[in-house]
């Protein structure tokens, strides 16, 4: 592996890590709302969250481009208030990855929150616990393995993101050229097969490790053997 290839791996981990960290609280809040609350327009919110899962990734990337362009509603604010732009930057790649991973994370977290026995929360209530204490000491610890599994899944999805990323922040070496984009680029170059093999093997290895970890955590959840 060349120094350049290691750089690609590190960049992918950075983008995936940032995407997951930023999406985690949002995904959890949405999952909790969908699992526990009834509100008007719930079906629509659910559908919008799941859009990135079914819309062509190119379209998602294009919508992000419209939103984050200097003249766009979010990009304009970033430019004016903070003087920054996420276009052609790794932060933009992380945003694309996070948006694409969000539906998967919300789905997995929602299931784990729905699996928490409401009767235990009632028991905590009769013992004098405030709603916040019930959440922190019963709901969250019981849902935690599932939440962690969802985070790992989201991380894996983030590392594999291609279509929305290349549309939104292009394919800039050292900045937005993550593993899938680097593999795609290497395929375009004569004699790039060696790099393709190595990068593809790393991609598969990372994804496999993440899936195994995620499944293992989900099983722990099913057994109800929480030690936290």
């Amino acid at each position: 592996m060349s120094a350049e290839e290691w750089g690609i791996v590190l960049l992918s981990l950075k983008v995936g890590g940032a995407a997951m960290a930023a999406t985690l609280p949002l995904a959890f809040a949405l999952a909790w709302l969908l699992a526990r609350r009834r509100f008007p327009g719930k079906l629509l919110v659910d559908a919008v969250i799941h859009l990135p899962l079914v819309v062509p990734p190119v379209v998602t990337g294009w919508v992000l481009l419209l939103l984050f362009a200097p003249a766009g509603p979010i990009g304009g604010v970033l430019e004016r208030w903070f003087g920054v732009s996420v276009l052609f930057r790794w932060s933009g790649a992380a945003i694309a990855a996070g948006v694409m991973a969000l539906p998967l994370m919300v789905r997995a977290m929602r299931l784990s929150i729905e699996a928490v026995d409401r009767r235990l929360e009632q028991a905590a209530e009769t013992l004098g616990a405030s709603p916040w204490r019930v959440f922190a000491t019963v709901t969250l610890p019981l849902a935690f393995p599932g939440v962690l599994a969802a985070a790992v899944l989201g991380f894996a999805r983030s590392i594999g993101e291609f279509g929305a990323t290349i549309t939104f922040v292009s394919n800039v070496p050292g900045e937005t050229r993550t593993l899938p984009l680097a593999i795609y680029s290497a395929l375009q170059v004569p004699g790039g097969e060696g790099a393709v093999w190595r990068l593809a093997a790393i991609s598969v290895g990372l994804s496999l490790a993440a899936l195994v970890a995620s499944e293992w955590l989900a099983r722990r959840m099913g057994r109800g053997t929480h030690v936290l």
């Binding site: 009769t126 616990a129 019963v138």
Partner: protein, 201 residues
């Protein structure tokens, strides 16, 4: 310490009504299954809202439909022992017992009274049915309740375990001096534990 309960609620096609008052000792609520005994306990604990009526414990009104009073479950100070124990599976027995306990609660005395002192470091999933029931009773007692609600505390236990739990309840009744409202479908249990028996139809 006394309680006064006069509540009604319609659940599906059934009208659940109960009117009773009691004081020291154990009041046992009997009735065939499906009479709404558990619903009554849930209404007293605040987990289910009656359609009408009132619930007064030790002079404090916990619920009064006419006056619009409905105290939150966490402020009612009922020690509710559910039929299915409902221990927190992610906390050891000690942490379960102390969950609702105020500062300075006497864990050791309660554990000794219920015979669960050797279980403190165990996980709930390793407990037998009878042990789990007694831990649940201990957890309710330690939360500093004004009275105790017991929902079929002896059901689905074999003979020796029933005897353990029965003795524990008798000690709570005689030593802790808390009013108890217990639900059962078993006349023999009712006769042994009840200071007074109320039948629900």
């Amino acid at each position: 310490m006394s309680f006064e309960i006069d509540i009604a609620r319609r659940i599906g096609e059934r009208d659940i009504t109960l009117s009773l008052s009691g004081g020291e000792g154990a009041t046992v609520l009997v009735g065939r299954s499906g009479a709404g005994k558990t619903s009554v306990l849930n209404m007293i604990a605040g987990l289910l809202t009656p359609d009408r009526g009132r619930i007064v414990v030790a002079g404090e009104t916990l619920f009064d439909a006419a006056a619009g009073i409905d105290v939150a479950p966490r402020r009612r100070r009922v020690g509710y022992v559910f039929q299915e124990a409902r221990l927190f599976s992610h906390r050891r027995v000690r942490a379960n017992l102390l969950y609702g306990a105020p500062e300075g609660a006497d864990l050791d005395a309660t554990a000794a009274m219920l015979g669960i002192a050797p279980l403190l470091d165990r996980w709930p999933r390793t407990l037998s049915g009878g042990e789990a029931r007694r831990v649940a009773i201990g957890r309710a007692l330690l939360s500093d309740p004004r009275f105790l609600l017991l929902d079929e505390p002896l059901s689905s236990l074999d003979r020796p375990r029933r005897e353990d739990v029965m003795r524990a309840i008798e000690r709570v009744r005689d030593e802790a001096g808390l009013p108890i409202l217990m639900v059962t479908h078993d006349p023999e249990e009712a006769a042994r534990i009840g200071t007074r028996i109320v039948e629900m139809r």
